[in-house]
Amino acid sequence: MPETFYDVMRRQGITRRSFLKFCSLTAAAMGLSPIYAGKIAHAMENKPRIPVLWLHGLECTCCSESFIRSAHPLAKDVILSMISLDYDDTIMAAAGHEAEAIVDETIAKHKGKFILACEGNPGLEEENTGGMSCIIAGKPYTEQLRHAANNAMAIISWGSCASWGCVQAAAPNPTGATPIHKVPGIGNAPIIKVPGCPPIAEVMTAVITYMLTFERLPEMDRQGRPKMFYSQRIHDKCYRRPHFDAGQFVEKWDDEAARKGYCLYKMGCKGPTTYNACSTIRWNGGLSFPIQAGHPCIGCSEDGFWDKGSFYDRLTTINDFGIEANADEVGMGAAAVVGGAVAAHAAISALKRTQNKGDHES
């Protein structure tokens, strides 16, 4: 029988006490009742590790960077041992043909039983132009992705690249970067999106833990994101929210309001339109998150956030009019034109009327 998670943890010198702590913290992070801590512990003690293929397409590796910093008590040793991470070219020691052979080996050995973790996305323009934007071991990444996806039990779309497209898919998207769920020919394995640039480490590990414990995907919203982490906006749980409600805003980066920690709405904060758990789970072991550090949320877990104008404007820039403008500028411009036209029309009407009157009298 393959090693269970618990075996791996014990082998790495983790005490049973720490192991149980990890289980209860994970249950709490997932919003489960305390009795689930026992279930998680039971699952980890008895279930064999799920084989995971972690493939990298067009991406910056910030998801991996985030993942290895998961701050749960056992993170640095255990999270990576929890899953049987059979292949991850960024962090594995092996390289070359033998390392690449593991991909095919895992797919053949665990057909339909492994999790495909996608970090980054394929550039589909390769297929149209014959250009090369993402080649892995001499073959286009798209091929590797399709082969693995068609044999996977489930697919995790790590980060905004795999979930939405992210920066490489921003206009004009020269490589045709396409999020995983929109790639043709990837089969029918369920896809769970864990967006963010990068996603929060604890969210990433919790999603995997959930899938292991319950042997199913967590409950997802219509866009395929786990509800437990993506059903509320940053704004809903932001600790600066009382300043928003009061009408206290930072107007300039170095003003008194900025020093006092007022709401960053006017500095372009996307908290009111961004679904993520940063304001509750926070980053680096719950130490801080962008707004706490005095910077507005840039909405990195939202679809197409690169194409919504400046990070520092509340209203989106609309480029379709050929000029830089936001909705209010466009609307006000149109209203001014119509208002001017109305005034001119009224003037002509008045003129015509006096003319007509003159006609009647003469």
């Binding site: 809903d236 009408g247 309001a257 939202e302 679809d303 197409g304 209203l315 936001n326 209010d328």
Partner: protein, 236 residues
């Protein structure tokens, strides 16, 4: 000194706007005014207040006024739609109109010519003229429906999962637009669309009142359309 030259003449009158329609019109006008002003200040808030956060609730009140007026607008439109069914035929005009009738397009063309100063007199209608129907249906009714749907979708984001606004609007509308930020942008744009409608609507109502041979502004207060001469009423 001139003498008053008005000769004795009769002014035929038709009862057009029933009480619920008139009431709706003015409540609705007030709601739109509140919505546009508060909505603008939600997107671009007033200058920052200093002092203790617990001493103020400015954005809270502005948002409350916006949401309250939004409910008035939404239920007002529902009530108005109900009255379109049970009220007189004029109450139906802005919702349903037979656009297949050639006389409708003929009337619309004539009205356009009137506004382009190409004809001397507009036709007379007891209800809305064809151009008015066109504008109210496409600019006002659909603009308002759009604002109600996108508005409640964003409202549901705040009330959260399980709330009626979230289940009815947020869950399908936000993904349809892409993301929440896009819904906000469109909600802003259509606000200006409605403001433009209001500018045209108010101008045209006053102008018609003065220049055409029928009452307009006072009709929305009294309900009666009076004609300034006994010429035939064109209708359609």
């Amino acid at each position: 000194m001139t003498t008053l030259s008005t000769k004795a003449h009769s002014e035929p009158a038709v009862y057009v706007y029933e009480a619920p329609v008139r009431l709706w019109h003015w409540i609705n006008a007030a709601a739109i005014t509140v919505l546009a002003i508060t909505g603008y200040f939600i997107g671009s808030p007033l200058p920052s207040l200093s002092g203790e956060a617990s001493d103020y609730y400015l954005m809270g009140y502005i948002r409350f006024a916006h949401f309250a007026a939004g409910y008035v607008l939404a239920f007002g439109l529902l009530g108005r739609a109900y009255w379109a069914i049970v009220g007189n035929s004029h109450a139906r005009e802005i919702f349903l109109h037979n656009i297949l009738k050639p006389s409708y397009w003929g009337g619309l063309w004539h009205e356009l010519k009137w506004y382009l100063f190409l004809t001397k007199e507009p036709r007379k209608y007891s209800g809305h003229n064809p151009l008015a129907i066109f504008m109210m249906h496409w600019m006002y009714v659909w603009g308002t429906v759009f604002m109600i749907f996108t508005g409640f979708a964003m409202y549901g984001e705040g009330t959260g999962e399980g709330s009626w606004a979230h289940s009815l609007f947020t869950v399908w509308l936000i993904p349809l637009f892409g993301q929440s930020q896009d819904v906000h942008t469109w909600h802003h744009l259509v606000m200006w669309w409605i403001i433009i409608f209001v500018i045209i609507h108010v101008y045209v109502a006053i102008r018609e009142d003065i220049m055409s041979r029928q009452s307009i502004v006072s009709s929305m207060i009294s309900g009666w359309r009076t004609f300034k001469d006994e010429g035939k009423i064109d209708n359609d």
